[in-house]
């Protein structure tokens, strides 16, 4: 059963061949047996999962089942789950049990899905390797057979590793600068970062509010579409959510791609990209040509400024968002504070890890008196230039294609001593968040036995088109079906 897709599991449940309770128990048993190798989960919530499975079986008996009723999955540990610890990968929230559900959590519950637990992640979603988690690094299932411990990418590294290792058929993720797409690429799974405002951020612990967006991580575009059908939609509780109709993302998966106009941004085929990676990406683009697409080169002249703009905007917003962790209302508090200032400063020094502290300090610096215009305002202006590049490109083509990462999954510890080298991991993904447009990572080959991701970038609210393009590719290739040994 663990090898079946969401769509297939749904059919098994519908046919009555297996109950949700049986299915959930099987998945829980396997998860507990296998996850020692990967550390992809922070919390396994068996009790709640079995209760949800029982309700799912009742829902089905009452004739109220949806596609998701009784299907197991997992949430990144950034989505608040009422009664189940939500740590965000931090000591600060090591014992935080939310008294409410995120909107995304609520939607999966309403659909009858069964959440097996909460997946590991970089602390407060800050990282590209899942090594900044307070709960330990996650190991990529790929490369393990050679005795290598490689990173799964981050920050949604636990979700990516769990899906790749077939511990769950699908998991939620969040993407602020590449945190769905980069781990999806490094673990050989399918991930989608939706348009900013498409999925509610309510109850999704905030990192950089103008960039954060939740999205699906699964083994195929079809399953990602099924997740989007649950996740997308307006939410009055998220003031930046967009009130706009949600299509059925599965309805257009089988549209032919004949005439699809693909643009290849020349800045994303630069010297940073290894020749072996480039070959895989170009091979994937050739598959699209066989499917009837046309290809031309386009330019995103300001893309080179994306990392610089991001490392002002994201830390600045993080420093404001993370000011809520003060040791008063919830979360960690230092022992024996001697006064209020001592309580704040030690609570935050002890509760946050090094990468989170670095970003809070950079952000506080960029927002401090005398620096605001030079940093934050300047970065917001550059952000518009980057957005304009994409708007111009989409006047000429329907989608853009590029690599997701410059190289495949690296060995744990390789980049932890130099924060800037870690930041460059997101060189091809970060501009998309600044522009607020959607993009996917789709398995597109291997280099040295490690997965390579193809990035498909679309105009605002073109998720259905991206999923369609990915699904058609997955009908003629089998990269997404390869399994780590």
């Amino acid at each position: 059963m663990h090898n079946k897709s969401v769509a297939e599991l749904s059919k098994e449940l519908e046919s009555g061949k297996i109950s949700s309770l049986e299915l959930t128990q099987q998945f829980l048993d396997r998860l507990k047996r296998e996850d020692g190798k990967y550390n992809s989960f922070i919390t396994i919530s068996d009790e709640q999962a079995l209760a949800e499975a029982e309700s799912a079986d009742e829902m089905r008996a009452a004739g109220k089942a949806t596609v998701w009723t009784g299907v197991p999955f997992a949430h990144k540990d950034i989505f608040c789950t009422n009664g189940v610890r939500t740590s965000c990968g931090s000591k600060m929230l090591e014992n935080f049990v939310p008294p409410y559900d995120a909107t995304v959590t609520e939607k999966f519950k309403a659909a009858g899905a069964v959440c097996l637990g909460k997946t590991n992640m970089d602390e407060f979603a800050m990282g590209s390797s899942n090594e900044s988690s307070f709960f330990g690094a996650v190991t990529n299932p790929w490369g393990l057979s050679n005795g290598e411990k490689r990173v799964p990418g981050g920050s949604s590294g636990g979700s990516a590793a769990a899906v790749a290792a077939r511990l769950v058929p699908a998991a939620t993720g969040t993407d602020t600068g590449g945190s769905i797409r980069q781990p999806a690429a490094l673990c050989g799974i399918t991930g989608l970062k939706p348009t900013y405002g498409r999925v509610s951020r309510y109850g999704m612990i905030a990192f950089a509010s103008s960039l954060d967006q939740g999205g699906p991580m699964a083994r195929s575009a079809e399953d990602a579409a099924l997740m989007m059908n649950v996740m997308a939609g307006f939410d009055p509780k998220d003031s930046t959510c967009i009130d706009r109709d949600v299509p059925d993302y599965t309805a257009t998966l089988n549209e032919p791609l004949k005439g699809l106009k693909i643009g290849l941004p020349k800045e994303y085929f630069s010297e940073q990209l290894s020749p072996a990676m480039e070959e895989q990406v170009r091979n994937a683009v050739r598959e699209y040509e066989k499917l009837g697409a046309t290809v031309k080169e386009v330019s995103l002249p300001n893309a080179k400024l994306a990392i610089a703009a991001y490392y002002v905007i994201a830390p600045a917003e993080a420093s404001a968002n993370l000011s809520r962790f003060d040791g008063v209302r919830y979360g960690y508090r230092c022992a024996d504070p001697k006064d209020l200032m001592d309580m704040y400063t030690r609570t935050r020094a002890e509760g946050f890890g090094n990468e989170v502290k670095r970003r809070i300090l950079v952000g506080s610096y960029a927002l401090s008196a005398g620096y605001f215009d030079a940093y934050y305002l300047k970065a917001q202006k550059v952000r518009r230039l980057i957005q304009q590049d994409f708007i111009n490109a989409f006047k000429e083509v329907d989608v853009l294609m590029s690599p997701v990462t410059p190289s495949p999954a690296f060995i744990q510890g390789e980049k932890t001593t130099d924060p800037v080298s870690m930041y460059l991991e997101d060189v091809f993904t970060i501009a998309i968040n600044l522009a607020g447009i959607p993009a996917m990572s789709v398995p597109a080959g291997f280099v040295d036995g490690l997965p390579v991701g193809l990035q498909i970038i679309g105009d605002y609210f073109s998720e259905a088109r991206l999923l369609n393009a990915a699904h058609q590719f997955q009908q003629v290739t089998d990269w997404h079906q390869r399994e780590p040994q």
Binding site: A308, A349, L361, S368, D418, G436
Partner: protein, 95 residues
Amino acid sequence: MSISREDIEKVAVLARIKVDDEQVSALEKDLGNILDLVDQLSAADTDSVEPMAHPLDAVQRLRPDVVTEINQREAFQAIAPATEDGLYLVPKVIE
């Protein structure tokens, strides 16, 4: 661009994060490298460009001014580090 020890100490106070002397040296290097990266921005010509806050230039919605939340004080305080009689406890602020 470099950042001085004094700047780091000042910003640590603003951010309410206690930083030890030996950490300041490591931060001087790391934050200096990050600010070097960020300095590429100064080369961009942004003279007539409007800053962008929301990708779709959406503005904050207003909702009717009615009560929508119910009182959940007990649930909220159950997860607090220290409470007493429905109040959050903090170190003494006023002598």
